[in-house]
């Protein structure tokens, strides 16, 4: 690391260099704990380069020292962690990180330090670890693999995950627009102008903080102004239009079916941490539905493949130009240009203008003529034609360049003798340009190979998406402008539906003509391939030309095999700089053409974006809704253990004082059985079905009959799916002749509304009825226990609660405490019980009124767990416990609720299938353990025959199991093969540490005559 100043003085060339930085605003930042100074407007890359830093990271596999080769999102090498503690974020490209005061950056994938990395020894052993070496080794002895793997895992990976929880908020927005333009360069701006003038709603997004793209780094004129001046005017015009939304720092990450586009906007990453607002989202994920999408994402320059082309100081020609022009940084003092096309000549001229010595341009092509080449010659730069860089000489450790060797380009073969050596500390390479076709290709856009460009460009698509400018393979300014105005206009016109809107007149652009490029996929070197040299293709994943040849030699020849075998293109840069070069090498190796070798597929995202933005607002307390019953505040105030049930939180039990859960459950059960209990059942599904055919409809929905139910009465019903399996149960009330109210389980409430609607609309549309869910309108409580009647009778009511007037399974409506209520005499606990349905807004007050009235009778709130114990004591099934999607009503001995008379109902036919009526069914029985204190574990299995060790043949499992405080012993239900035929038998349940035996009995353990609930 030298201390030389690499910042071009502001005086040079009338201030032509460093136009994006504010030289009066110095910013302080650290990289690997060392403090540096940069300027406002710098990227982390430009600021570090200006400070003479050349080494930014270590490669993935060989841990080779790496510099920066690009100036944009294609950068494969220079990844660092930014931030610390809760703001630590790994794997940021320094080329995309905007500098802010106090920025903390840390290098990655090195130990103990970037300059001295122990794992760099991998480079020495690199011959032993070619592509796919791990498939061939580490197999013996098998038990050592976990140890090998441990070492591999710790060697791999890039940055570290944050240790602390991210405090930032993220959010998402959904918008529609007529025309979405990805990329704010000249093409994007031109298309935006054309579309906006037509009146289209236009969104134009660019991933960088600025617009204009390459306008400041190219030659030519637009309407006799410099391209940059035109771009500035265009942006100003767009910003003043209220039908245009301009989004900087916003990456269009993916294009999905039907022109749905995802964009990630970074709102605060460029602001110093102290100035970030806590409630301002860090990232905002945009979900855009666009009528037309225009891809104006430009092109990425290709590196050239030569020996040691990965050394810090080797850089893309356009990147070097960009650093000088935009940030006033010269990445070196003496630069050699290596190119196969004209564009790099601009870099040579720019660097020379910036004060960098440019002794030579090495041009792959034979003596070529063009205006640009002449300009370089006129500037006194020597051009060596038909030549290549055959190797790069470095200082010890490979961290900086000292010179390059030049050899004649040979038509075939891999070997070359260098004929010259040039001293330099910077190599600027250009292998041509690859259109950024990613977005175009995400859905099903195809690409075709262009022989002139030697790369793929957009071809066909079924989506309303077009590519323009460099993304479409046009590198001439005038063609780009014309095409962009045409396609922008066409997109705006078709999206707005205007028949003949006026078209903005495109400006006239001109640019010097270029001479054609000549493909070069491999620069020959002294020695061949892996023999001491490495020709890198995929820099981040350390894939070399030799690796590609090896893969081809071994038969991994399809592009997908090649990628997977060598890991080519699988790194965080997704092969932006490497894919086409790799195809070139593969095609050469297989002696075929690139299109015949294949094309890679592009998948979202364009560049990696935060998982936080994908979660968006749904994080922490907003992760998922918590559904609250109207009694929620009371539960909270009374130390209730809440249990998640679907999205609801339901009371599990209430702990008094130092009680544990079991003690609370016991207390609540005994209070309910002996005195009175109250439970919040608000989450139970409630659905009204009304119409002349409501009864017929319910007969088809339920397995038992509802059309015969009398108004004012309740009936328990079972629902099967079409497979014949039980999936819900509940009590249905006939409110009036043509009007029913169904109850469902909490978890199925929404599903069943949909189920009913679907059957009505799609299968029986002729039935006259309406289905309306009313779950949310009512709070529902069960008041249960011997004193429940006394409590209700204490309250002011229009309803007669007397034993004679209000009999089991009756329904009555009226007023309670002046509030309209519906009351059903139904019981899941087995006690005398009333379920009271109250308009939700009065629910809490009603609950409190009942509590006050019930105080003298010992009224106790109970939760779902005590309810479950009580229902089990009574032999009642619970959906989800006794059912698991494979259980029929007959298995549960509920044949009485499965109609034989009804012609058709859901599930009836399926129940007759051989396996469902076969003799091997698991049937529900009661189980009493030999030791009454022993509670069978939930889900344990009984075996046919007890053996010393598994496997043992299982004959069924425990579906519900509790300690019953009422009976002072354990009880359980089992689903046991031919269970009802085994009544009185003792079954063996082998557990991990012991065997529990239990007797098969009737599942009704308590009050089998129903005297209590009928009291």
């Amino acid at each position: 690391m030298s201390g030389k100043p690499y910042r071009i003085p502001s005086s040079r060339s009338q201030g032509a260099f460093g136009r994006l930085i504010d030289r009066d605003a110095a910013l302080s930042f650290t990289f690997d704990d060392k403090t540096y100074t940069g300027f406002k407007g710098d990227t982390l890359a430009s600021a570090l380069l200006a400070n003479g830093v050349r080494l930014f990271g270590r490669s993935f596999k060989y841990h080779r020292p790496r510099g920066v080769i690009a100036a944009g999102p294609e950068e494969p090498n220079a990844l660092v962690s930014v931030g610390s503690g809760a703001t630590h974020e790994p794997n940021n490209r320094i080329t995309d990180v905007e500098l802010y005061d106090g920025l903390v950056a840390t290098s990655q994938n090195r130990w103990p330090s970037l300059a001295f990395d122990v794992s760099a020894i991998n480079n020495t052993f690199s011959r032993l670890i070619p592509s796919g070496f791990y498939y061939k080794t580490f197999m013996w002895p098998a038990k050592l693999w976990p140890h090998y793997e441990h070492i591999i895992r710790h060697a791999a990976g890039l940055g570290t995950a944050p240790q602390e929880e991210d405090e930032a908020v993220y959010e998402q927005v959904h918008v529609n627009c007529d025309v979405l333009i990805a990329g704010g360069g000249i093409a994007g701006l031109a298309a935006a102008l054309a579309a906006a003038e037509v009146g289209a709603r236009v969104i134009i997004a660019d991933l960088s903080p600025r617009f204009g793209g390459a306008a400041d780094c190219i030659d030519g004129k637009i309407d006799s102004a410099a391209p940059l001046a035109w771009a500035k005017k265009a942006v100003k015009k767009l910003a003043a239009m209220d039908n245009v939304y301009i989004l900087p720092r916003t990456t269009v990450t993916g294009h999905y079916d039907h022109n749905w586009v995802l964009m990630c906007e970074r709102l605060s990453d460029h602001i110093s941490e102290a100035d970030r607002l806590a409630n301002r989202p860090r990232h905002r994920l945009w979900k855009v539905r666009a009528k037309k999408v225009i891809v104006a994402t430009g092109a990425f320059e290709r590196p050239l493949t030569f020996a040691n082309n990965d050394r810090p100081g080797v850089m893309l020609a356009s990147a070097a130009r960009s650093y000088a022009t935009r940030y006033g940084v010269t990445p070196g003092e003496r630069a050699v240009i290596f190119t196969n096309n004209d564009d790099a000549y601009l870099t040579a001229l720019t660097l020379q203008d910036a004060g960098v010595s440019v002794p030579k341009i090495i041009d792959v092509r034979e003596d070529t003529k063009s205006a640009l080449i002449s300009r370089a010659e006129d500037a006194g730069i020597e051009i060596i034609h038909s030549s290549v860089i055959s190797n790069v000489e470095t200082s010890f450790g490979g961290t900086s360049i000292e010179g390059v060797q030049i050899a004649t380009r040979t038509a075939t073969g891999r070997l070359a003798q260098p004929f010259a050596r040039i001293e330099c500390d910077l190599v600027c390479m250009s292998g041509g340009w690859n259109p950024a076709v990613h977005l175009f290709a995400h859905v099903n856009g195809s690409v075709r190979f262009d022989d002139t460009l030697q790369t793929f460009r957009p071809d066909q698509t079924s989506e309303a998406i077009v590519a323009i400018g460099a993304a479409n393979g046009h590198f001439d300014l005038s063609t780009t402008i014309d095409e962009s105005f045409d396609k922008g206009y066409a997109a705006g016109k078709s999206a707005t539906g205007k028949s003949r809107p006026k078209k903005a007149v495109p400006p006239k652009a001109r640019q010097d003509e270029r001479s054609p490029l000549e493909a070069l996929w491999f620069a020959p070197a002294k020695g061949s391939l892996n023999e001491g040299n490495k020709h890198f293709i995929d820099f981040q994943n350390d894939v070399t030309a030799a690796d590609i040849e090896l893969a081809a030699r071994e038969g991994y020849r399809s592009v997908e095999h090649l990628k997977r075998y060598t890991t080519l293109g699988m790194a965080t840069d997704q092969g932006k700089t490497s894919n086409i070069s790799a195809l070139g090498i593969l095609a050469d190796t297989l002696n075929t053409t690139i299109p015949a070798a294949g094309a890679t597929r592009f998948r979202p995202p364009f560049t990696p974006f935060s998982l936080g933005s994908i979660a968006g607002t749904q994080a922490k307390h907003l992760f998922q809704p918590v559904r609250r019953t109207p009694i929620a505040t009371w539960h909270h105030d009374n130390n209730c253990d809440m249990e998640p049930v679907g999205l609801w939180r339901r009371p599990f039990c209430y702990r008094h004082g130092t009680e544990d859960r079991q003690a609370a459950i016991t207390r609540e059960i005994l209070a309910t059985r002996e005195k009175a209990g109250i439970i919040d059942l608000s989450s139970l599904g409630k659905i009204e079905v009304k119409g002349p055919d409501a009864g017929v409809f319910l007969d088809r929905i339920y397995s038992n009959v509802f059309s015969t139910l009398k108004p004012g009465r309740c009936r328990y019903g079972l629902m099967m799916n079409e497979d014949g399996f039980l999936f819900d149960d509940g009590v249905t009330v006939r409110l009036a002749e043509d009007h029913f109210l169904m109850h469902t389980t909490s978890g199925n409430a929404d599903r069943i509304v949909g189920w009913l609607e679907e059957w009505h609309q799609t299968e029986w549309p002729d039935l006259k009825l309406f289905i309306t869910p009313v779950t949310e309108n009512y709070t529902q409580f069960a008041v249960a226990g011997p004193h429940s009647r006394d409590i209700l009778q204490k309250l002011e009511s229009t309803i007669d609660f007397s034993r004679e007037a209000f009999t089991p399974l009756d329904y009555k409506s009226g007023e309670l405490c002046g509030v309209p209520v519906r009351i059903y005499r139904i019981s899941f606990s087995g006690e005398l019980s009333y379920e009271i349905s109250v308009p939700a807004n009065y629910g809490l007050a009603m609950w409190q009124a009942l509590m006050v009235a019930g105080k003298e009778f010992g009224l106790t709130a109970y939760g779902t767990e005590p309810l479950h114990v009580m229902r089990a004591e009574k032999g009642f099934i619970a959906i989800g416990d006794e059912t698991d999607g494979t259980v029929t009503p007959l298995d549960l001995d509920l044949g009485w609720a499965v109609s034989k008379k009804k012609v058709d109902y859901i599930g009836k036919r399926s129940l007759q299938r051989s396996f469902l009526k076969g003799d091997e069914r698991k049937e529900m029985v009661g189980l009493l353990t030999d030791d009454p204190k022993e509670v069978l574990p939930d889900g344990c299995y009984a075996v046919e025959q007890l053996l010393d060790k598994p496997p043992m043949k299982m004959i069924g499992h425990v579906s519900s199991s509790y300690y019953s405080p009422t009976l002072n012993r354990s009880i359980a239900f089992g689903l046991i093969k031919n269970g009802r035929a085994r009544m009185g038998d003792t079954l063996q349940f082998p557990l991990e540490d012991k065997v529990v035996s239990a007797k098969v009995v009737s599942p009704v353990f308590y009050d089998s005559e129903g005297e209590r609930q009928n009291a």
Binding site: H258, R289, E757, T762, K908
Partner: protein, 101 residues
């Protein structure tokens, strides 16, 4: 992310505003002939699906619009939705044509 338009209420929205209901036009044998449905007919009704690569008739629910079910013709390879129609409508001609291919 599919963009779907309900033929009943014209509500247009993302696929997440709708609910998919599987292949359309599946006849429930017991609705027409409750007494005589063989095991194979019941199996076909419950499980066997055309599952074409190409034009597919399917049911969707307009969940965030009118709450009604409707049919759509969608290409399962390109995702292009070429037609939507009422749940009570018969299969359109192009579906039969595609099936024969």
């Amino acid at each position: 992310m599919l963009l779907i338009k309900c033929p009943i209420c014209d509500c247009e929205g993302d696929e997440t505003d709708f609910h998919y209901g599987g292949e359309g036009h599946i006849q429930r044998p017991t609705s027409s002939n409750p007494d005589k449905v063989g095991d194979e007919a019941q199996r076909d009704y419950l499980y066997v699906r055309k599952n074409p690569r190409g034009l597919h008739s399917e049911r969707w629910l307009c969940e965030r619009g009118c709450g009604k079910w409707f049919h759509a013709l969608r290409d399962t390879a390109t995702m292009v939705i070429s037609k939507t129609y009422l749940i009570t409508d018969k299969p359109p001609a192009e579906l039969k044509k595609a099936g024969k291919k």
